[in-house]
Every structure is written in C-alpha cells, then in structure tokens.
C-alpha cells in the first residue's frame, strides 16, 4: 500500500479525522499563547503546570481504586456496599478533564500570585510545585494501580497517547469547545495581551487592570496545557508552547507577524507529525515535537545566515 493510500485508508475512520482536528486546534492555541509566555519570561510556568497536570491526571485515574481500597479496609468486608460501588463507578466513568482542569487552574492562579509575592520566589515555587506533583503522581499510580501495566500508564501520561486513536469522542468535543474559546479570547483581547506583555507598568499606569489580564493569561495557559496533554503528554507540552514562538522570533520583527508565523509553524508541525506518526507508527507527541525542533534549528540557521549577510 502506498503512503497516500494508507493515509486515505486511515482518514476514513472518523476518530482519525477527529484526532487530526484536535491536534491542529491544540497546536494553534498553544502557539498563540506561547509567544506571550516566552516574552513575559513565563515559559517555566507552562512547564510547572504541565507537571501539575500529570499529578492531577494520576489522581484522576487512581481515584476509583483508592476509594475502593479504603472503603474495603474501613468496612472490613470483602465486598463493597452497592452505594459505595456506585461512587466508585461514578468516579471511574468520570472524564479525567473534570479533575485535571480545576486542579491545574488553581495551580496556575497560585503560581501567578507567588510570582508577585516575595516570600517564595517565582522560579523556586514553580520548581517546588512541579517536582512535588510529579512525585505525588507517580506514587499514587504505584500505590493504587488501576491497571496491571503501571509503567505503560505513566509513560502514556508523560509522553502522550502512543496512538492518537485512543482519544474518546467526548475528549474531542471538549477540545474543540475549549480551543475555540481560547482563540476567541485571544482575538478579543489581542491588544491588551500585547500591552501587558510588552510593558506591564505602563499598562497599569494608564488605568488598565493589568492584573486581571495576567490572570486571564494564566487561566488560558492552564486550559491549553490540559488540552495538549491528550496530544503530546505532560512532559512535551512545554515544547509545543515555546518552540513555535522561539522559531518565529528568530526571523520576524513585529508582534503580529511573530504570532502569525508561530501559529503557522505550529499547525504545520502538528499536521506533519500526525501524518508521519500514522505512516511510520511513531509516537505522535514526540514526532510533533521533533518536527518543531527541526523548524527551530532551520530558522536559527536562516537568521544567523541573514544576520551575517547584512553585517
């Protein structure tokens, strides 16, 4: 079967098409916000939040097992009461997003607050939170294994689903709704986000509530990280956020062109990565990130070359 036929064959399945759409939307969102995060020196917050999302994801997958074990040891019986079984089933059937999203949102807000507070400096707070969340997450997964294959679970949470085909239909719709919300927020507040990114003190002085826009940026960052976890996993999200922005900044010189270029790079790399991962069955997350890395190196070379030619 030729590559084109193989692709055609795969794209006949609706869930492959959905996964493709989700990948494109997520990469678009992350690249939009990435420019702001990189310029505000907030890239580490994205990294920290992705680890928090990992911890929350572990919590969410182990919660039914945890409840079951504690309920059994507490009651001293071998079987759960029907009521307790109902609770366990309810948590088991719950979409992970409903736990991961609120936890990550709260941490995003907290991190932003500590960034301004002097007691624990921003970078230390992020480091603390991210390794803490990693440790708790891994411990939960080991102590309350929901499936036999623990390392497989950990691996897919860290590096994304080994196949995009494991996305559930509900995930897809949630992703589409949230991506559209992120893009709408970005377009509506574009000028404000620019001003807050470029010069916070001026923005504050002219009577614009810069703190609430910072909060908005943190909330949207958390949203994107939770979204992107499905695609590339929590370790590789930072790459999706910072690489397109850094590549675009090598060459383009105005904010708008950087944003547009970053979005184009990110979407192209995501599409390329997903197609390659289908054709040669590589893990989708790392394929996309490697594509992003390649573009970054290419753009760095171009900018070095152009810089030399000019001087």
């Amino acid at each position: 079967m030729s590559n084109i036929e193989k692709l055609q064959y795969y794209f006949e399945f609706p869930y492959v098409r959905y996964a493709f759409i989700v990948g494109i939307l997520i990469s678009l969102c992350s690249s939009l916000l990435g420019v702001t995060l990189v310029l505000k020196r907030f890239s580490f917050i994205g990294d920290g939040l992705s680890h928090v999302a990992f911890g929350a994801m572990s919590l969410s997958t182990t919660l039914p097992v945890m409840i079951k074990q504690y309920a059994l040891s507490w009651s001293g019986e071998d079987k759960l009461s029907p009521r307790m079984q109902g609770v366990v089933n309810w948590f088991g059937g719950l979409n992970d997003m409903y736990i991961v999203l609120p936890v990550t949102l709260v941490c995003a807000v907290l991190l932003l607050r500590t960034g301004q507070n002097t007691k624990i400096k921003g970078d230390a707070a992020v480091a603390m939170l991210s390794v803490g969340a990693l440790a708790v997450g891994y411990m939960l997964m080991n102590r309350f294994p929901s499936r036999a294959n623990i390392s497989g679970d950990v691996c897919s949470t860290l590096f994304g689903s080994t196949s995009i085909l494991t996305l559930k239909r509900e995930d897809v719709w949630l992703c589409i709704v949230m991506s559209v919300a992120v893009i709408a927020i970005y377009l509506l507040f574009y000028n404000k986000i620019f001003s807050v990114t470029f010069d916070e003190s001026f923005t504050k002085a002219s009577g614009v509530n810069a703190d609430s826009y910072n909060l908005l940026i943190a909330v949207v960052t958390a949203l994107i990280i939770v979204l992107a976890m499905n695609l590339v996993g929590s370790l590789l999200i930072s790459a999706l956020i910072i690489f397109p922005a850094l590549s675009a900044m090598r060459i383009f010189k105005s904010f708008r062109s950087v944003i547009i270029c970053s979005a184009v790079i990110s979407v192209a790399c995501a599409a390329f990565g997903i197609i390659v991962s289908i054709l040669s069955s590589t893990p989708v997350g790392s394929t996309i990130v490697v594509a992003d890395l390649g573009v970054f190196i290419l753009f760095s070379l171009i900018s070095a070359f152009v810089g030399k030619a000019r001087s």
Binding site: L39, L188, F189, N191, F198, S201, A205, S206
Partner: protein, 239 residues
C-alpha cells in the same frame, strides 16, 4: 496657572515602614518638575503613588484642573523583557491608546491616526515598521514617549529617561521634552542628572533621608541650603 495635582502632607511606604513622609507639593499646568534624590530616597515609591498604583499611607494626593487619576502618560524605565521584544514601532505606539479603547477589541480609526501623527511629531514616523529592538537607545525612548503621548496630552511622568543614552542622545531627548513642555504639557521627571534638571526644570522637588528637603522654583533651589549641599556633593562626585 491652574493646579493639576496637589500632594498634601502625604506619607508613602509599605506595610513594613514609611519610605518618605510629609510630602507637600503642587504641580500646575505647564510646569516642568524635576524630582531629585539619591537611590532609596523613595523616588520610585512616589512615582507609584502619583500613578495611583500604590495608595499613600496618610495624607492626600488630589487631582484637579481637568486631570484625572490615570491620566498621566508614563515613561517607565526599560525592562529586560523589552530589550529583545519583537514588536514594530507602530504596534508599541498604538498600545498607548489602550486605555481609550476600553473593552473594544480593536483600535478605532481616530486612535490609529493619533498614533501616526504622534510618531511624525517625535520624528519616528519613518521607523513605523521597524523593529523596536533594532533601534538605538534614543530612538527607543522616543517610541515610548510617543506611546505615552497617545495615552494623554496633559501630563507626562518620566522615570530617569536618559539613563544609558550617549550624551548626544541625552541632549536631543531633553530638548524634545522641553519642546513638549513649551506646548503646554506638564512634565514630571525623576532624574539623577542635576545639571540638566537645573537647566530645563521650572520646579524642583528634592527628597532624601525619608523626607522632603526642598520644593519650589529652580532659582530658589539653587539658593537653598539643600540645593547647595546637593550640587556641591554632585560636583565632588563628578571629579
């Protein structure tokens, strides 16, 4: 001359302690006020108080003469973030109109025109499409000045605007600011540069040792005790 800002017996500081107290001064329309003082004398706290970012601990800061709080064009000191920021001059100058645009997501035609005419006025019209980080220090300050002028035409607050500029660029920027002052824009400048302060300012506010050492006309400042002391030490420091 009508007063635009009156500071009555204000004390500034944080919860942990007072940084400067008993500040009493008035700024009138068309004034050129220079705020002098050593590092740590409470200058930056005073700036925050004037901008309304940090309320005074006691006393009053009143706005009058048609100027409202937040109607100050502010030229902050450059931050690390800005030095390699990919933004065109036009984008930065337009962002001065942000407060006017309110919740509207895009700038109106009038706001865009204001940005264009301000850039022409400050002689940076030809740089409109250039990248901010590729400009010289003096040109960058003009861009930020144009942005401040888009925010308001009543009062400008400049925080050590000539820091890091070469002598020629410093002189040009001072002349530009003096020109804006002649057009009737009130100038408040925080500065280390005593010589230029005396040359251009109409009024001097000197703070130090947590209190106000002098406020008044520049000519009177030179005769005053604190003025002589400060000019004296400054000259010794330069030798």
């Amino acid at each position: 001359m009508s007063a635009q800002m009156v500071c009555k017996n204000a004390s500034l500081g944080y919860e942990d302690g007072i940084v400067a107290e008993n500040l009493d001064f008035t700024i009138s329309k068309g004034d050129y006020l220079c705020i002098l003082g050593e590092n740590g004398s409470g200058k930056s706290t005073l700036i925050k108080a004037i901008l309304g970012l940090q309320p005074q601990v006691s006393g009053e800061i009143e706005w009058c003469g048609g100027v409202r709080k937040n109607e100050i064009g502010y030229l902050p000191q450059q931050t690390v973030v800005q030095r390699d920021f990919p933004a065109s001059v036009r984008e930065i100058v337009r962002s001065g109109c942000l407060a006017k645009s309110g919740l509207r997501p895009f700038y109106s035609k009038a706001e865009k025109e204001l940005a264009e005419s301000t850039m022409k006025q400050l002689g940076i019209g030809e740089f409109a499409r250039r990248c901010y980080r590729d400009l010289s220090g003096g040109q960058q300050q003009r861009v930020l000045l144009a942005r401040a002028l888009c925010a308001t035409r009543k009062m400008l607050l400049l925080d050590e605007p000539v820091t890091g500029l070469d002598p020629k660029a410093q002189h040009d920027l001072y002349e530009l600011i003096a020109g804006l002052n002649r057009e009737g824009i009130t100038i408040i400048m925080v500065s280390h540069d005593l010589t230029s302060a005396i040359k251009y300012a109409t009024h001097i506010l000197h703070i130090g040792g947590r209190k106000q050492l002098f406020f008044g006309k520049t000519a009177d400042y030179l005769k005053s005790a604190s003025g002589m002391l400060f000019t004296g030490t400054e000259m010794n420091g330069n030798e």
